[in-house]
């Protein structure tokens, strides 16, 4: 569809078509300009955070923007986090704390996402293949029961959960957060996976069962491999949501099970703002997701598009 170089073509455009192409070019330029503008809006805050983490106080105050041109990058922000080249070998309490929070975030988000994908996929498969009846609820009602959890705002569960967790000695534990996070992403997983399974023809399982497979055997050996991309999409979407979750983490953890967002949020007030270290911390907190976003973008898009198009 590119109309850039047509000198080598046998059929040239007529003058009228070239006039049309001038209009086409303005539209093209406009679209690219808008796209570039929005890409700039989307990426500038990330750029700003990276560069600020390498600035000294005067560079921040004077609003310098471009490293090496405007200012010389220094490891100041990363030094305070204990992650700069000089400090990486030494012991550092801030870094230890950071790494502990990081480990918490990783363990909690990965475990709850895997759990949610496992539970959610099973439920979605069951609902897309068999007919259930529980009291008055049939398949559609059970599906709705799962999906309706999406509407439930976290604040409704937060305080009862706080009191319950206190009784159960689950406050400030990873297990407590994992359970809640699993719950919060489960409806999304069910939504995505129901769509995935609905797209797989039942003849596949029927054939497997004729060959002597059980229901679960057919599910595990035939259906699961086909639905794997959908599961990865659901997993990554869950990872993003659980990694970024702040509300429950802020309410239910205090010392041991803090996640990264809580650490980032707790830094802001204290003793004036040291912009460079805040920037370094923020960037370290968003870096894993930035990497996921760049390399696994198609899975995220697949996951989010799953429900949109029936």
């Amino acid at each position: 569809m590119t109309a850039t170089d047509n000198s080598g073509q046998i059929f040239r455009d007529s003058a009228a078509d070239l006039g049309h192409s001038a209009k086409w070019w303005t539209a093209r330029t406009f679209i690219y300009a808008m796209l570039a503008l929005w890409a700039f809006i989307s990426l500038f805050p990330i750029y700003w955070t990276i560069t600020t983490s390498f600035k000294m106080a005067p560079d921040v105050m004077q609003g310098r923007l471009v490293p090496w041109v405007d200012f010389t990058p220094k490891w100041l922000g990363w030094k305070s986090l204990g992650l700069s080249p000089e400090t990486i070998g030494q012991g550092n309490t801030v870094r230890d704390e950071f790494l502990r929070r990081f480990a918490n975030s990783v363990v909690i988000s990965v475990t709850s996402s895997v759990l949610a994908v496992a539970l959610g996929s099973l439920a979605a498969y069951g609902l897309s293949r068999f007919s259930y009846k529980f009291l008055w609820m049939r398949n559609a009602d059970i599906s709705f029961f799962f999906l309706s959890q999406l509407i439930l705002p976290p604040v409704v569960l937060a305080l009862p959960m706080l009191v319950l967790y206190k009784q159960l000695d689950l406050l400030d534990t990873r297990v407590g957060l994992i359970a809640l996070y699993t719950l919060s992403v489960l409806p999304i997983v069910v939504w995505i996976m129901r769509d995935q399974f609905a797209g797989i023809p039942t003849e596949l399982e029927e054939a497997a069962m004729v060959d002597g497979q059980s229901v679960w055997g057919a599910f595990l050996t035939i259906v699961l491999p086909i639905a794997l991309p959908g599961m990865v999409a659901a997993l990554i979407l869950s990872l993003v949501l659980t990694w970024n979750e702040y509300f429950f983490a802020a309410l239910l953890t205090s010392t041991y099970a803090n996640t990264l967002p809580v650490m980032v949020a707790s830094q802001t007030g204290s003793q004036g703002i040291s912009w460079w270290s805040m920037a370094a911390l923020s960037f370290a907190a968003i870096l894993p997701l930035v990497v996921i976003g760049i390399f696994l973008e198609r899975f995220i898009i697949k996951g989010m598009a799953a429900g949109a198009v029936k």
Binding site: Y32, M34, W38, A39, S42, L43, F44, P45, I46, T49, V60, G63, L122, A123, Y125, G126, L127, R129, F130, A140, I142, F146, L150, P153, P154, V155, V156, A158, L159, P160, L162, Q167, D169, L180, L183, V190, A198, T202, M209, F219, N244, Y246, F247, L251, V264, A265, T268, S282, A285, I286, L289, V290, G293, I300, I301, M304, A305, G307, A308, V309
Partner: protein, 367 residues
Amino acid sequence: MSEGDLLHVVTTDNIGPGRITFGRAIVWGSVGLMAVVAVLQTLQSLGTSDFGFASWRPTLYAYILFAVCLCWAQVLVKGEHGKRILFVLPAALFVISLVVFPLLFGLVIAFSSWNLSSPDGRQFNGFDNLVQMWHDPFYWNALTNMVWYVLAILPEYVVAFALALMLNTEIRARKFFRVAFLMPLMLSPVAVSWMIGKSMMETRFGPLATLARHLGWDNPSFFGTGWMAKLTIMGMDAWTFIPFMMIMILAGLQAIPKELQEAAKVDGASPWRAFWEVTFPLMLPVSITAVLIRLIFKLKLADIIISVTSGGPGGATDSVTSFIFREYRDRSNVGYGTLLAMVYLVIIIIVMTVLMKFADRWMKSRY
């Protein structure tokens, strides 16, 4: 929600009476165990006797054991059919135990005065909380703010649609633009609120403030007045969530058969008319889904507000969630906070039910 293509399996089970008895036995046995543990713990918490429990965890373990036994018994008692139930049962049990129980418990808390920092403990106080809520200007203020925040979805939708339309044209470097546009969604709202709200909007040297000065705003203060602060919060929230709607709409656009748009072109429709009479109506179902889901996320809005403005200035940016969060953080007022949350839930359920009814009708009337 259609039932779809169901799998029909006919199997003959050969389940002996011993197996059924065993299945029933483990279910009732675990129920019994749970009841015994719960009764013992209740006795201890009432102070009648001490069994040395440190927390309510034994009851939790007994409950988990019961849940496992219940799943196992399905297979034991019902055989092949039980194996099918096993697909849905774990998830259902999980959701019920983490939502239904706390909600019922929450209802009890909502009608009691309970300050976690006071030694009195929970006291039932009937409708006092409701009366207090009725006279609480800050709660109503937070609810009104939510209406504004929700209305902000419409401009977000317009921007998202425009971006999706542009991404759907024949462009180069589409992958780069998609990744770039997706980025804001990946970032944690707390980091975003620091990066943008605190750093880039810093009045003296933040790049956004500098830009505002160049554009002729002498003294840029993004959180100075109530409306400005509200708009800024809306802007930051929009920044994170526009990619979400954009992707859903883009998926919808790509699912439209190209022939339809080409037919409109051949018939001599201008791009503008082709959009309004072909693309937009076709996109209506997807749009409604995207907006509804965005609405659900919008109703949970809190992180940015908590970490940037804490509801200020003067409650102008408070969302319901951030208000309740502070109600708990500052006053440890669990009872009142829970009631506010419950009322919010009721409002949400009513609004969503009405909206979904309308959405259903809209989607059907056109097709």
